[in-house]
Point group: C2
Chain length 81, copies 2
């Protein structure tokens, strides 16, 4: 069972790295890129013995308590069955 | 129009950062985590004037030529209509 976790900066938090990428894209001709935000992406492989509900609960805890800094970041995830 | 780009290390490339996270998860009790791989995630907002086909072509070029190091990384993306 594989989970995909996406951690992004909250929209209220400045993202200088994304801004730098956007500026670079403009300079090389991608002028219709309105915004770029960079985040982190995690692929987590879980043991196959877990139920869907147990996997969901585990991934939720890992994303919330380990992978995300709740002061400046938020997370989402999805689980491949 | 919003594009989501995921850049990951090729499976043949070691991921010490993911390995460190996996070890940390084991230490705090998530013993059924079999593997963790860390990648990058980009949210790209495009101007609304683009056709779906033009947007797809543009995001493909940005992902391939700018966001990914083809020696060690691979990418995937999806576009919200």
């Amino acid at each position: 069972m594989k989970a995909h976790v996406y951690v992004t900066l909250k929209t209220s938090v400045l993202d200088p790295q994304g801004q730098t990428i956007q500026n670079a894209l403009h300079k090389i001709g991608f002028s219709d890129v309105a915004d770029v935000r960079q985040g982190k992406y995690f692929q987590i492989s879980l043991g196959n013995g877990l139920s869907a509900e147990a996997a969901r609960e585990k991934v939720e805890r890992i994303a919330r308590d380990v992978l995300t800094n709740p002061v400046i970041e938020e997370y989402s995830y999805h689980i491949e069955e």
